[in-house]
Each structure stands twice: as structure tokens, then as C-alpha cells.
Symmetry: C2
Subunit: 191 residues, 2 copies
DNA sequence: AACAAAAGTAACACTTATGTCACTTTAGAG
DNA sequence: CTCTAAAGTGACATAAGTGTTACTTTTGTT
């Protein structure tokens, strides 16, 4: 009953991601996106009213995907196994922390549709936090984690460490292994 | 021999910083800056040809100030004292890591004046790196630092940890103390 | 007082992005 | 084959930022 679409939502989200990573949030615009997808700018407005709505929708999509992957943390029993899994998962999705930082820059617009979308995105963040909170709780229960370190710092360390620029191109396996070591036991020798 | 200036370069840099922190690099514009300083937009062009030139100049200014403060690291003898000093210094200037990240987003423009300014800024980064390198070298010499952890990760950890958002408003003294603990000895108990 | 020179202004032309709308294209239902 | 509705287009008015320039204001010097 209708004409065939020239681009799927997945393709649109993929292009959105590329542009966000290359140009950053503020320089993202529908012209760039249309060009990337080889369609007219107007076509995008058939699906999204504006930039904020598109980007928050995309972030929800990305976040849901990541959350689904994170769920698998429950397949692991011990705290140590879970920690290793978590770091690997974040590394595999290393754009996620970047996206979260970009997400923080979206202005809480007057548009109510966008507001709604931001609320939903925040809910996904909370879901993620809950998932990770139970991981932390386990670490506390098993007395693996130092009591003095706040939960938010533990999670912050894990998420933020992924964004440390690897200027000297250390091989990823080495790099992530070192990050794991620092997060678990610090940079100092203990003798 | 000339009319009195309505704004000093320091005031201009201060306003620049505020706007960069509030609105981010991409939304920084001369209109906003002029409004903040209660002058006309055109006046700024008497001193800076464009946004990139102003921002790179400002970053040089900020970086020089920070470097000067960092020099004091040489007043401390032991590696541990130096580490404490370094973390405190970065915390006191917690906008510096943010500014460095913003700096990375400045497009390597065609304008040769801007290129020159970016080169100078990079040189300041190198100066900072050298200063910190000798600190790392001392840690290695004293066998304080784990051999397996790359230099760039140690510095990256220190710089990046400052940018972990303190969502739950943990008191700064506690927060920084915890960061120190994690960087030095990790999040895990060692028993 | 007349001037030179720097500081500041305001208007202009230009560029880039936005959101809308009347229009065309296309594929399936009847 | 024809009609319909969704998909897509291109032009338009609007908005915001850029960089330039002719102009005015101010101040110290002669």
C-alpha cells in the first residue's frame, strides 16, 4: 500500500552514530545525515520532528542493546568473573560511555515529546544502574570491595577508564588487561 | 594615546571559560561572549580573528597557568608525596582535564594562525607530559609502580578520574581520598 | 584646540541549519 | 487499470552565526 523505504531505521541509527562520533553532538545536523544516507533532508522529518528527538531515540536504541548484553552478567557466579565480564562488555561497546557523555549534553528541551524521550532514556540508565548495583552489592557481601570506596566511584572508574585515550596505540588486549589491574589493585606495588 | 578598554584579556578569558563549560565548544560563539562582557561583537574581532584563534589562545593561557602550578611538584622528594601533590593539583584545577578534552575537538583548521596556535598548545601538552614523565620515571626507579602498567595509562587514569561525575555529591575531601585509594591500590581488598 | 590612534559600534552581506509544505513517485489493494 | 497512502523531494521562509567595514567615541600628545 506504500512505496518502498530507501533507508531502514537501523541504517539511520547507524549513520547517526557515525556522525555523532565524528562530529560530536553540537555539529550533528539533518543535512549531514541525509547526505550520508543519500536521501533528502525532508525525508527524515517524516520519522523524527527534530534533532533532539532523533538522537534521544537513537540513544534509547543503543542503550537497550547494551543493557541486553549486560544482562548476561547474571550468568556468572563469582564477583571476579562478573567484573571481568563487565569490563569486557564495556570495552566491546566502548562507544557507550562516549554516547552517555554526549547524552548528558542534550538540552532538556521545551518540546514535550523530547522531554518524554529523555525521561525514558534516564529510566534505561536507572535500569543499568540497578543491574550494576546488584553486582556491587555482591562484591560488598563477599567483602571483596573496599568499604571506604563509594559505589558511584567504583562504577565511575570502570566506565571512565574506557575513555582514556590510548595515544601510543598499546594493543587492546594489553591495554584492557592493564586497566583491569589498575582498577582491581592500583598502580602501586604492594611491597 | 588611545581610548580605555572596556574589558581586559583576563576578563575575556574568564568569560570564555564560563561559556565553554556551560555551552561546550560547539555552541561557543562571539555573540554569547560579547553579551557576557557587555560589549559589541565586533570589538572582539579587534583582538581575535575568529573563534578557533580565541579558544586556542585561551587554552594556552590556561595551560601555562596550570603548568606553572605543576612545576611545584619538584619541591617534593618522595614519589608518594609527588603523587599526592599531583592529584591535589589536578583536583584544584579540575576544569583542566575538561579543557583538554574540549581542546581535542578543535578542528585543525586551514587558517595558518590557528594551526600555529594549535602547535604551541600541543607543545605545552608535551611540556606537561615531560614534567609528569620524570615523575613516573622516579616511581619506576624507586620500584613503586607496577612494571606492567604503561606510563600513558597511569597518567590517563589520574587525569580521567577527575572527570568522573560525582552524581551523589560525596564531599570533595572524601571523594578525592577515595580516588587516590583506587588509583594506588584498586577497589579490591587484598586478603 | 587639533590631531592621531586605538577602542568600540552597528549595519551589511554571507553562510548554514531549521522546519514546513505543496508536490511527485511508487507499490499494493480493489 | 486506477486509486490511495506512504515515501520521498525541492523550494521556501526563518533563524542564527560569521567576518567585514565604514563609522563614532575616547584619550593622550603636540
Amino acid at each position: 500500500m506504500a512505496r518502498e523505504r530507501k533507508f531502514s531505521t537501523d541504517e539511520l541509527y547507524h549513520a547517526t552514530k557515525q556522525i555523532l562520533l565524528q562530529h560530536g553532538y553540537e555539529r550533528f545536523n539533518f543535512g549531514l545525515l541525509a547526505e550520508q544516507l543519500d536521501i533528502s533532508r525532508g525525508a527524515i522529518y517524516k520519522y523524527f520532528d527534530n534533532r533532539e528527538e532523533l538522537i534521544t531515540s537513537y540513544m534509547q536504541y543503543e542503550m537497550k542493546f547494551f543493557l541486553k548484553e549486560l544482562q548476561a552478567i547474571e550468568n556468572y557466579q563469582t564477583f571476579n568473573e562478573k567484573l571481568t565480564f563487565l569490563l569486557d562488555a564495556i570495552f566491546k561497546n566502548s562507544t557507550i560511555p562516549q554516547m552517555i557523555t554526549i547524552g548528558r549534553r542534550i538540552p532538556t528541551s521545551g518540546n514535550s515529546k523530547v522531554k518524554e524521550s529523555i525521561v525514558q532514556l534516564e529510566n534505561l540508565h536507572i535500569d543499568m544502574y540497578k543491574l550494576l548495583q546488584s553486582f556491587i552489592d555482591q562484591g560488598r557481601k563477599e567483602a571483596k570491595l573496599k568499604e571506604s570506596i563509594p559505589d558511584s566511584l567504583i562504577l565511575g572508574m570502570i566506565f571512565q577508564s574506557i575513555m582514556i585515550p590510548n595515544h601510543f596505540g598499546i594493543p587492546p588486549i594489553e591495554w584492557i588487561q592493564s586497566i583491569k589491574e589498575v582498577i582491581c589493585h592500583g598502580i602501586l606495588n604492594n611491597d
